[in-house]
């Protein structure tokens, strides 16, 4: 009877853990790991079951954005069909770290068209880690947590010397194609992995049939990774990744991207010793550059043509080590440094006049060194304590005369600023009885303002129609946070509920500056970044994964976010109650999935950010899959209908109320050899 009630509860739950995308291992309480790795390549054991378990198979063409948007902690701010900006529990931009294998990368777009998440294709992704609360700041002083994308590594363990896969797909909503391949080569102590992905999408069709202009994009992504085993414990690895995008439309913005290019490279040395003290360590050196060229030549009624190029360069080094202090005690050490250069400009053209030029990001550099420690201590068989701390020294500087001259316009000091950031947290978890575990944590963390918040120069925000101006004297945001989560775990299901509360001092917000006139034609005015005394945020996240029968699985996630400024006004970009639920059946070579995605209306709108209320929506997606083997190769066929009822809708976090894609039928094939 009890079992039946639980089953009933599970199926009642409205949402789901993003179905096709990941098998969640909810082992750690403050961090969430999503395994996307194809089992075939990951390990030698190629059981049919494992392959079927892999949700990812359901939609090979899913972008990383599709995947992370299913996580209960993550929301996306959408400005176009591509390049959505991730936020963790309504923390975004400089409040969170978005890293690739721990490496920092800064977008080159002043309009945030290029979050780091666009550079990783699911094909070169091994896992996504979301760290909040207790551990959120370990990779870098931030208040909102860390989203790390771990890149797939060459596989020594593959059964064949050469293995790989080829994927091809088509989607109707944007008449888009998706082509990708992945190759793994191993020989002796050496393994090499290469991937290539091509995507090309036209303007998509929204619910009801309307075409959304300027939602097209085209991109290519390639990666090469080589690993060499120096000895039994030591490996050296190098990773190269390149991403090029062309003609990427942003319907919610006044400009598109003509061309954007990112180049990432790293070399790392890793040692895995099961020695008593120094368990393992890793050193990584990395460099990356991003170039970004915005384009308005395809837009109608452009009053004045403009060019907006931007570039970013980052160099960095990371050292990680894990130490076993004893049977019950473990220490993780991290030390890292990085230097990020940014420059962006805008040039406007008026016939018969000299070009109008200004630096939207005056040439600036951020140099950072930091170190963090996590100490885990098992106090008894059922409980564990975890202490974490991190400090960062950050120097922010304007590095050209033109940049310094420009900041003088507002009477700001062009001197370097040096910040010392401090973070600390403590977490306690206890197994109350066998299937139930409760974890609570409290933390204090700080973050420095971003380049836009410090030095931005008339950055037009098309969502509220204000020009934003940086303020180099901004104080650091300081957050006190607490998080409590409970996990209930048994053979049939896993249930997790987390609540979170944050009190943020010196919250950075754009506030109207009536003394300054706007630069952008049509802008309502100018906002300067200021510290408001405080803001509060809270969230509730729940997820259930249950397998009532061997061949059926239900997954559901629920999230609710809340945020308010000291004035009582709601904060902007706060998601309403949202739920994603999916029900999957796998039988022999066939699989079937029905997924629902729903959001309540959001009436807590941020008036000072020009938000309006957003209606709720309910969507249904269906997916089917078929797998067969042929001469040692595996062939997968997938198809599905997203937004089955062709609902016209947009999310509260979508800029410009641009409707999202309507009914989308897709078909994909994948060959694994």
């Amino acid at each position: 009877m009890k079992k039946h009630i639980l089953l009933f509860l599970c199926s009642m739950a409205l949402g789901s853990l993003a179905a096709q995308t990941y098998t969640s291992t909810m082992s750690d309480d403050s961090s969430r790991l999503i395994q996307l790795k194809e089992v075939l390549i990951k390990s030698n054991s190629k059981s049919q079951l494992q392959q079927l378990i892999n949700y990812y198979k359901f939609n090979n063409a899913a972008t990383l954005e599709d995947i992370i948007s299913r996580l209960p902690e993550v929301s996306l701010q959408r400005r176009g069909a591509y390049g959505m900006e991730p936020s963790i529990r309504s923390f975004s931009a400089g409040q969170i770290n978005v890293t690739i294998d721990g490496m920092r990368i800064h977008g080159a777009c002043t309009d945030k068209m290029d979050p780091a998440t666009i550079y990783i294709e699911p094909l070169n992704l091994e896992s996504v880690q979301v760290q909040t609360g207790n551990n959120g700041f370990i990779a870098g002083s931030v208040i909102g947590g860390t989203l790390n994308m771990k890149m797939a590594v060459p596989d020594f363990g593959a059964s064949k010397n050469i293995s790989g896969s080829v994927i091809s797909g088509y989607q109707t909503a944007a008449q888009s194609v998706y082509e990708a391949f992945q190759l793994n080569f191993k020989s002796g102590r050496m393994a090499i992995r290469g991937t290539g992905t091509y995507r090309n999408a036209n303007n998509y069709r929204s619910g009801g049939g309307q075409i959304v202009p300027f939602s097209q994009y085209e991109k290519i992504n390639y990666s090469l990774s080589a690993k060499y085993q120096l000895n039994q414990f030591t490996t050296i690895k190098t990773d190269l990744l390149a991403d090029d995008g062309w003609n990427i439309g942003y319907p919610a913005l006044p400009m598109d991207v003509g061309y954007a290019a990112a180049r990432l490279g790293s070399i790392s040395l890793e040692q895995l010793k099961n020695e008593r003290l120094l368990n393992k360590w890793q050193v990584k050196l990395y460099a990356n550059t991003v170039h970004h060229f915005m384009d308005d030549t395809h837009r109608p009624n452009v009053l004045m043509h403009m060019d907006m190029p931007g570039k970013s360069k980052t160099l960095g080094a990371i050292f990680d080590a894990s130490l076993k202090l004893g049977v019950k005690s473990q220490l993780q050490l991290k030390a890292d440094g990085s230097s990020t250069f940014l420059k962006a400009s805008m040039t406007m053209y008026q016939p018969w006049q000299l070009p109008m030029y200004m630096l939207t990001w005056p040439d600036n550099r951020k140099d950072q060194v930091g170190t963090g420690v996590v100490w885990q201590l098992k106090t008894d068989s059922a409980s564990e304590l975890q202490f974490a701390t991190r400090i960062d020294f950050i120097q922010s500087s304007l590095i050209s005369t033109a940049a310094k001259d420009q900041i003088s316009v507002f009477g700001y000091s062009a001197n370097n600023r040096i910040d010392f950031l401090k973070n600390i947290s403590v977490q306690y978890s206890k197994k109350v009885n066998v299937p139930f575990k409760i974890t609570s944590s409290i933390s204090y963390s700080e973050r420095i303002a971003t380049a836009s918040e410090l030095y931005g120069f008339y950055l037009f925000n098309s969502n509220d129609s204000y020009d934003y101006i940086g303020n180099p004297s901004l104080k650091n945001e300081q957050a006190w946070q607490s998080e409590v989560s409970g996990i209930f775990n048994n053979k049939y299901y896993r249930f997790k509920l987390t609540t979170f509360y944050a009190h943020i001092r010196n919250y950075i917000l754009g506030t109207i500056n009536p003394a300054v006139s706007s630069m952008t034609i049509g802008a309502k005015g100018v906002k300067s970044y200021q510290n408001i005394p405080w803001a509060n945020m809270a969230s509730l996240e729940g997820s259930i994964v249950c397998r009532p029968m061997e061949f059926a699985e239900i997954a559901s996630t629920l999230r609710y976010n809340w945020g308010a400024a000291d004035s009582g006004e709601p904060l902007p970009y706060i998601s309403p109650l949202k739920n994603i639920s999916s029900f999957r059946i796998k039988y022999k070579a066939y699989s079937l999935q029905v997924e629902s995605e729903s959001a309540l209306s959001q009436n807590r709108k941020s008036r000072f950010s020009g938000e309006d209320a957003t209606a709720g929506y309910f969507l249904v997606h269906t997916r089917i899959g078929y797998v067969f083997h042929f001469k040692g190769s595996q062939f997968q066929l997938q198809s599905g209908i997203e937004n089955l009822f062709d609902k016209q809708y947009h999310d509260h976090l979508d800029w410009g109320n641009i409707p999202r894609p309507g009914r989308n039928i897709y078909i994909q094939t994948k060959l694994i050899f």
């Binding site: 006049q353 000299l354 630069m519």
Partner: protein, 271 residues
């Protein structure tokens, strides 16, 4: 090992010292960056006069001259002289003068005597001459040198005039700074002269000035400008902010106490 460290430390410090060692001070040519316009003799003062300007082309508006004087026999520099300018324009039916500034001291400034003339119209309407009266203090002799000046109108005018609403007088405004405008905060300087008669154009300090920059093509202004205030000899100094390059219009409102003198004039700057 220790030895090497020590040795490299010594080399490092030595190179630091070598680098910071002061370079010998070579006196720079005082006319560096200036352009020679003309030269001639001030008969009676036994002086050779060489005339320099900032630009080869003289345009309407405030124009700085730098005079170098040499003993006409020995060729030695004359460092002490009393200099008086008389600009004159012959328009056929009439002649008139223009605002000018004599060197502020009888002692040369880095071997040169800086002075200025504000050409109120281009040579197209007549012929400009500049007469330089020189009293060679060392030799106790007096003489003068007259030379023609060709004045053209620049693309963007740096010289404006208006008839004041409050007293009907004619005022001439010269834009002096910025000469090299940049994005950011710039020095702003104008000189105001009042035309009393054809031959008398004294500096005026009675007006107050308000500056409002705007980009006419985009319809925006700029923040944190400082209204120019009178410093001396009709020169008003303030600050102007440019938030971007391009064409800027500096609107200037002139007041006499609470009475409006003029609000119609502006200067355009493009860079």
């Amino acid at each position: 090992m220790k030895k090497y460290v020590l040795a490299s430390l010594i080399i490092f410090i030595a190179s630091l010292i070598a680098c910071t060692k002061e370079k010998e001070q070579i006196e720079q040519d005082p006319t560096l960056g200036l352009i020679k316009i003309t030269e001639g003799y001030a008969n009676g003062a036994s002086a050779k006069v060489v005339v320099y300007c900032n630009n080869a082309n003289i345009s309407t508006g405030y124009t700085r001259f730098y005079l170098a004087l040499f003993d006409s026999i020995s060729g030695n520099r004359i460092e002490d002289a009393e200099i008086n300018l008389t600009p004159k324009m012959d328009m056929g039916t009439m002649t008139h003068s223009a605002p000018y500034e004599n060197p502020s001291s009888t002692r040369a400034e880095r071997h040169l005597f800086p002075c200025s003339v504000t050409f109120v119209m281009p040579s197209a309407s007549g012929n400009w001459t500049l007469k330089v009266d020189i009293k060679n203090i060392g030799a106790g002799k007096t003489g003068s040198f007259v030379f023609p000046v060709t004045v053209s109108d620049p693309v963007l005018s740096r010289q404006k005039s208006f008839t004041a609403n409050h007293n009907g007088a004619k005022y001439f405004i010269s834009l002096i700074e910025p000469t090299k405008p940049k994005v950011g905060i710039n020095d702003f300087e104008i000189a105001i002269y009042k035309k009393v008669s054809m031959m008398s154009w004294p500096a005026d300090s009675s007006l107050s000035v308000m500056i409002t920059p705007e980009m006419p093509t985009m319809g925006h202004g700029s923040p944190n400008n400082v209204n120019p205030i009178h410093i001396q000899n009709g020169h008003y100094k303030g600050k102007v902010n440019f938030t971007m390059t391009g064409l800027w219009r500096l609107n200037l409102d002139y007041m006499s106490g609470t009475a409006v003198a003029d609000t119609t004039q502006y200067f355009d700057i493009e860079f």
